[in-house]
Structure formats: structure tokens, C-alpha cells
């Protein structure tokens, strides 16, 4: 297997061909915030938190969706990147309605975590309080769109891992919303197998089990990768 050698913040690291810059950053022991990325799902490069700078070109590339190349010099923590990341997190908080105090995911929320990681102690951008829906029509699960950050993990896990493609994104721009079926109540969509993968993949408290209340949401965000390995490499958890 061929190997690419590159540097991450000056640290030399070797990754197998086909690895992403995110793999390389992790191999170098550096940390990058991510939100839309989830191991085991196709990367989309949408949240822009894992942007890194390629030294020389000055170009910013999403680490999750960029192939690692021989000789690349990757910078992950320039002051500029840190400033941009913080602004991106502020934009996420401002565009939805995120009230950690009574959220099911309080304490187990990736949005809350990245806010800490980027040092966001308040949002300089006014909160928008958009009119969004809550759909509790499913017998076991519910979605509160106020907490949705449009990472599309639910869309991808349902399509790529479960194969049901219950979810998709509707509309565009700030009107974007996650939908089930033909924008029907989730509970009425026959294609849903109630497998709960979307609950596990959701980084926030947007999709949750109905019997969980404040700060009770537990997730298994490692499962998509485990399932993919089992399916494609015939490697099961017990092996």
C-alpha cells in the first residue's frame, strides 16, 4: 500500500493513500472541530469547521473532504482559522434556536462542545429565532427543527447505512429544512424502519428518543463506522 507523507502544523505524518486530511490531522495527534463529518458517512464539507490552510497556497480546504497528498503542509490552528471557526459556530447558534439549559442533549451535544472548543462565550450575531416545527408523530422518536444545524448526518446515515432514505433536505438557503418522505409527518412515512440511526448520528438534540428528557440523550456516534466496516470489510465488533 502506498503512503503519503505530509506535515501537520510542522509535525511529519504518514498516511495511506486515499486517506483524508482529517485522517492525517488525527494521525498527527492534532485536534480539529467537526460537525457535519461522521466517521462511516460520505463527507460533505458543509460545516466548514475542519477547514485547514495549505501552506504556500493559503487556500482553505475542508480536511474531511480533501485527499491527503504527498508533501502537503497543513496548518490547523492559524489565528485566522481560529477566528473563522469561532464565527462559524456563532452563525450556527444564531440561525437556529439553541437553548442548552433544557435540551435533551445538554452535556452530550457536539454543537455545545465545539462552542467550547473554539472559545465562543457569546454570539456577536443576533439570534434569528426562525419559525420552525417540532414533529413528534413518530411513536419512538421526535425531531425539533429548532435544534437542527443541517449537518445532513441523518440524511446520509439513513441512505448510506440503513438504506431507507427516509430523510432529505428540502428548500434552500436559510429556508432549508430536513424532511421525512414528501415532507410528511415522520410517523406516517412507511419507509422508516424505526432503526434509530438518525438519533444516534444527530450531533445535537434535534432528533431524540421521546422518553429522554433534559440532558438524558445518549448517542452512539461510532455506529455508522462499525456498520460500514462490518458490511464492507467483514470486520465485526467482536473480532
Amino acid at each position: 500500500m502506498s503512503v503519503h507523507t505530509l506535515t501537520v502544523d510542522g509535525e511529519e505524518v504518514a498516511v495511506p493513500a486515499g486517506a483524508t486530511l482529517l485522517d492525517a490531522v488525527r494521525a498527527a495527534g492534532a485536534e480539529l472541530p467537526t460537525l457535519c463529518h461522521l466517521d462511516g458517512l460520505t463527507p460533505v464539507g458543509a460545516c466548514r469547521l475542519c477547514l485547514v490552510e495549505l501552506e504556500g497556497s493559503g487556500k482553505l480546504q475542508p480536511a474531511c473532504a480533501t485527499a491527503a497528498g504527498e508533501g502537503m503542509a497543513v496548518l490547523t490552528q492559524t489565528p485566522q482559522l481560529q477566528a473563522y471557526r469561532r464565527m462559524a459556530v456563532e452563525l450556527f447558534f444564531a440561525e437556529g434556536t439553541h437553548v442548552c439549559a433544557f435540551c435533551v442533549a445538554n452535556g452530550n451535544c457536539e454543537l455545545q462542545d465545539v462552542a467550547v472548543a473554539v472559545g465562543m462565550d457569546h454570539s456577536r450575531f443576533p439570534y434569528q429565532y426562525p419559525q420552525r416545527r417540532v414533529d413528534a408523530s413518530h411513536p419512538h422518536f421526535a425531531i425539533d427543527h429548532h435544534r437542527c444545524i443541517l449537518c445532513t448526518r441523518c440524511v446520509r446515515v439513513c441512505d448510506e447505512i440503513e438504506g431507507a432514505h427516509v430523510w432529505d433536505v428540502a428548500n434552500r438557503g436559510r429556508e432549508c429544512t430536513i424532511i421525512t418522505g414528501l415532507d410528511e409527518p415522520w410517523g406516517e412515512v412507511q419507509a422508516c424502519t424505526s432503526c434509530g440511526k438518525c438519533v444516534d448520528a444527530c450531533p445535537t438534540g434535534a432528533i431524540f428518543r421521546k422518553d429522554d428528557t433534559t440532558a438524558e440523550k445518549q448517542t452512539h456516534r461510532e455506529r455508522p463506522q462499525l456498520l460500514r466496516d462490518a458490511r464492507e470489510k467483514h470486520q465485526w465488533q467482536n473480532q
Partner: protein, 544 residues
């Protein structure tokens, strides 16, 4: 004698169809000499703001040079049909007041390369196109020229992508052609969405066969046997004429299997957009052709490496492809001799806004903005002073910027415009007069971007919304100096971190107006003394 009636949508909306009908029936009624007048429907005659336009070709007495004189008439009404026919047959001159001066710089300074068939050929007749030499270059290259030689000519021409970014066309063709063997596609991007741009629409409506020829040559040069023309649905006439032209080309054996007796096959299809500006972005366009949401994806891989269905795909814009037949006919060196060192050939501009003469203008690259806006366009109606009342010229649509009047002597080329914080864009030039408020212009474009953002990445989806709201504060004159600082900060962030060109360029109209008209933003910040309580303290210092 021949009357060429513009039938492109600008003149159509001004009543060109009724005029043509009136001309036909007047000819029948008049009979006699009028019967010898042929009435031909053609494409754009350039001065769109004064349609409907008709060109009258009158043969001169034998021996005279030139053998034929052309007169152009503007703003014709159906009831003037008989007068026009009378003039055509040499009787009377009732329409002298509506005759345009063809020596006027608006016409005299134009150089038709891309538009050489516009207003000349009948866009609905392949026979007419053939008689004007269309498809001759396709036939020639298929039989006598290798794909490498074709690409060589395109490289020699120095042609750069006319969609806005200005990537060298020949290099792009090479990249696609030199991918590992396998299927590949060609795509014509006719999703002309920049507000203020109508160059591509005019080519599609006026001379569709030239585009098909250019696209077919491109397919041959890169080894593609399938292609798509992606046209925006807002251009129904263009879609209709393009579809007709494709049917005609297929029936003449100029598309399909074994074109013109060669071994080259090409299947071309039209795909119609459905109202999404972002589909002008290459990767979004490819998603849309495949029937998906028009959301862009990170590059690399570039479409030239992995495009439609994962195959190498060449994407060129209408004007780029329409230049190809001429380049092959005259040679790359001929084309390279036009224009400037870095930007060769001609460029078509759509001139509109606060300007006397609006319409389609093709000039050599390097022509100054002043020539285009003041000499050709005539400046702002009623405008005075050395800059003719021009306050700024907007180029590049929502991705571009506003160039102030004092920089009108800038030559129009890719690098000069970029250096001014604007860009060539697809070619829309919107002139703004003294009364235009620049924060309002910036907000206009930001609202456009809010509307057209696909919503995939957060800087564009949420950042443009915040920027538009900040601009509201300036337009409504309730901003603060903190807002000004934050506006610039967020502009830089959205520009640097957005996923595709739409978001990356969305702050440009703000940044360029901040650069040249900062005082208007500052004037919109309230004087601390006059502030209402909610804003008062914000003026004192930053919150961080």
C-alpha cells in the same frame, strides 16, 4: 432588398412580432415593388433599449462600394410597416427620425466575433446558418484536423473562459482530453444568472447553430461523445430555439452517429434549469443535470477529472464555445492578436442601467470602461460632467463589484478588474447614476445571495443573512462604527470559508463599495449624540 427584423426577446417584448406580422401583410397589400423585399427574422441587432429594431439592406446602384447599404430603424410601430416598405423600395423617407446613425460609436466601435451571426442569420433556419458558413469548421476539423491540433489552436488563441473566472480554455480542454481512457462529457453552461447579464441569451436566441458547432468541436477535441446544454428556464425563447436547432442539426447529420461522414459520434441534449442561480457553479450544475438538488461539492476533484457520473467533464460557457468556430476559421494567432497580453480576443457586454444606449456590445478586450459606458453607451441620460453623470459601473453581478467613475479609464480585462476588487464576470455592465446609494446597492446584491444560497454550508447560508441584516442598519441609517467593523470581518469570513464561488464572492459587492464609497457607510453611522438608547452605548466601544 431585405428587412432583417430582430426577433430576440428584448425586441419581442417591445412588439417585434406584431411589427413583423404588419410588415408581411403590408407587403401583400402593397404588392408590386414591395414583393421584392424579403422579410427575414433574425437575432439581436444590439441596441436592445430601443426595440423593436429592423435593419434594411438596400443594394446600391451597380458599381458602387459597398454594394449594399444598411440602415437601422428603431422603436417601430406596426402602423409604420408601410412606410418602412416604401423606404425599402426607394419611395419616401417618412421614418428618417427613427433611423439610427450606423457610424455612431455604439455600432462603429463594436467588433463582432462571437456575435458575427447575431442579427444576420435566421436563428430558426439551419439552411440559413449553413449558407453563412456555420458548421464548416466542424466538418473541416472532423475530416482534416486531429483533436490535438484543435486544442493547439485554442491554446494559441489565448481564449479564457467567458463565464467569469477566466481559466484558460485550451488548458481545460487538455486536462479533460488527457484523463485516463473512458467516457467523458461536454457541457455548455447556459445558466446565465447574473442579474444584468443577457449576452448568452442573445447568442442562444440569435445564433444557436454557432454554439452547437462550438460544442461539437469541443467534444471532438476532448474525446467526448455525449453532451448537455444547461439553459435556465427563465429563457423560454432560447430553450425553444436551441431545441429546434438541435433537431435540425440531427436531421442534417451534423449531430448523432458518424457526423459529416467522419467516425465521430455526438449526442447532445438540452437540460432546462428550474430557477436556481447557484446552478451556474460547475459542480452544482452537474448535480442539476443529474436530476439532483443543485448543491455544489468541494473541489478537488474538479469536473475535468470527475464530473457527470464520475467521468471527466468539460464545462464551458456559451460565449466561450461560440468563439471556437471563428478561432478555427481564422486561426488561433488571428484571435490572439485581438485584445491585450493577458486577455485576448473580444468580450461581449450587456450594457444596462442608467445609461442612454442599452444593449449588447462586443469590443476587443482592453477597451476602457469609459469607452464602453460613455462613448458607446452615452453615459447617464441627462448626466453632466466629465464622467457623464456616472457614479459607478457594476461588473460581475453578485460576485463582482462597483467601479467608481474616477476609474473609468481602466481597460476591461480579467486582471485589471480583479485588481479593482471586481471581476469580469459573465459580462453584465450596469451603470449607476449619482442618485444611487451604495449601501443600498450592496444590500440589493446581498439579498440576492441570501435568496440564491443553496443552504449547504453555514457561512453562505447563515452569514449572508447576517450580512444583509447589517446592511439594513446602514441603509436605514441606524448603524454604528462597531457594525462597520463587524461587517468587514464577516465579509472576510464568508469569502474565505464558503464552499463554492457563490458564497466566496457574495461579499464582493459589499467590500468593493466599502473600498470606494466608504464615506457613504460612515455617513450612515449615527452621530453618538443623536442616538437612541439602544444604540447609544454600542457606539462607545467594541463589545469585545
Amino acid at each position: 432588398m431585405q428587412l432583417r427584423c430582430c426577433g430576440a426577446s428584448g425586441c419581442r417584448s417591445a412588439g417585434a412580432e406584431a411589427l413583423r406580422t404588419a410588415l408581411l401583410s403590408a407587403r401583400d397589400q402593397l404588392g408590386g415593388a414591395a414583393e421584392a423585399v424579403s422579410i427575414k427574422s433574425v437575432g439581436c441587432l444590439r441596441l436592445c433599449g430601443r426595440g423593436p429594431l429592423v435593419a434594411l439592406d438596400r443594394p446600391e446602384p451597380s458599381g458602387a462600394e459597398p454594394a449594399c447599404r444598411t440602415e437601422l430603424y428603431a422603436e417601430l410601430r406596426p402602423e409604420q410597416a408601410a412606410d418602412l416598405l416604401a423606404r425599402a423600395t426607394g419611395r419616401g423617407d417618412a421614418l428618417a427620425a427613427q433611423r439610427l446613425d450606423s457610424d455612431h460609436p455604439f455600432f462603429a466601435l463594436q467588433k463582432s466575433v462571437v456575435l458575427e451571426g447575431c442579427g444576420v442569420v435566421d436563428p430558426e433556419s439551419i439552411d440559413d446558418a449553413l449558407s453563412h458558413g456555420t458548421y464548416a469548421q466542424l466538418r473541416r476539423v472532423l475530416l482534416d484536423v486531429s483533436p490535438e491540433q484543435v486544442r493547439e489552436q485554442v491554446k494559441r488563441s489565448g481564449l479564457r473562459g467567458r463565464g467569469g473566472a477566466g481559466y484558460p480554455t485550451g488548458l481545460k480542454w487538455d486536462t479533460v482530453a488527457l484523463q485516463p481512457p473512458g467516457p467523458r462529457y461536454v457541457v455548455c453552461n447556459a445558466d446565465e444568472g447574473d442579474p444584468g447579464a443577457f449576452m448568452d441569451r442573445s447568442v442562444l436566441e440569435s445564433d444557436p447553430h454557432r454554439l452547437i458547432e462550438g460544442l461539437a468541436i469541443a467534444a471532438y477535441a476532448v474525446g467526448a461523445d455525449q453532451g448537455f446544454v444547461y439553459v435556465r428556464a427563465e429563457y423560454p425563447l432560447a430553450v425553444e430555439r436551441l431545441r429546434l436547432a438541435l433537431r435540425q442539426a440531427r436531421s442534417k447529420g451534423l449531430l448523432g452517429a458518424g457526423i459529416a461522414g467522419s467516425g465521430f459520434h455526438l449526442r447532445l441534449e438540452v437540460r432546462v434549469g428550474a430557477g436556481a442561480y447557484v446552478c451556474g457553479e460547475e459542480t452544482a450544475l452537474l448535480a442539476s443535470i443529474q436530476g439532483q438538488r443543485g448543491t455544489p461539492r468541494p473541489r478537488p476533484p474538479f469536473p475535468a477529472q470527475a464530473g457527470l457520473w464520475g467521468a471527466p467533464t468539460l464545462i464551458n460557457n456559451v460565449e466561450t464555445l461560440a468563439s471556437i468556430p471563428v478561432i478555427l476559421r481564422q486561426g488561433g494567432d488571428w484571435y490572439a492578436a485581438i485584445g491585450t497580453e493577458g486577455s485576448k480576443g473580444t468580450k461581449v457586454f450587456a450594457l444596462s442601467g442608467a445609461v442612454q444606449r442599452t444593449g449588447l456590445v462586443e469590443v476587443p478586450m482592453g477597451t476602457t470602461l469609459r469607452t464602453v459606458v460613455q462613448t458607446i453607451g452615452g453615459g447617464v441620460p441627462g448626466g453632466e460632467g466629465p464622467d457623464g453623470g456616472v457614479k459607478a459601473v457594476q461588473t460581475g453581478g453578485p460576485s463582482g463589484g462597483c467601479i467608481p467613475a474616477h476609474l473609468l479609464d481602466t481597460p476591461v480585462d480579467y486582471e485589471s478588474l480583479r485588481a479593482l476588487g471586481s471581476m469580469m464576470g459573465s459580462g453584465g455592465l450596469v451603470v449607476m447614476g449619482d442618485s444611487t446609494s451604495m449601501p443600498e446597492v450592496a444590500r440589493h446584491f446581498m439579498r440576492f445571495s441570501v435568496n440564491e444560497s443553496c443552504g449547504k454550508c453555514v457561512p453562505c447560508r447563515a452569514g449572508t443573512v447576517q450580512l444583509a441584516q447589517m446592511l439594513d442598519r446602514f441603509v436605514e441609517r441606524r448603524a454604528s462604527l462597531v457594525d462597520l467593523e463587524r461587517l468587514e470581518e464577516l465579509c472576510r469570513m464568508v469569502g474565505a470559508t464558503s464552499l463554492c464561488g457563490l458564497g466566496q464572492a457574495a461579499p464582493n459587492p459589499v467590500l468593493s463599495t466599502l473600498r470606494y464609497f466608504r464615506q457613504e457607510y460612515q455617513a450612515a453611522c449615527r452621530d453618538p449624540v443623536q442616538c437612541e438608547p439602544l444604540d447609544a452605548c454600542l457606539l462607545k466601544e467594541g463589545t469585545r
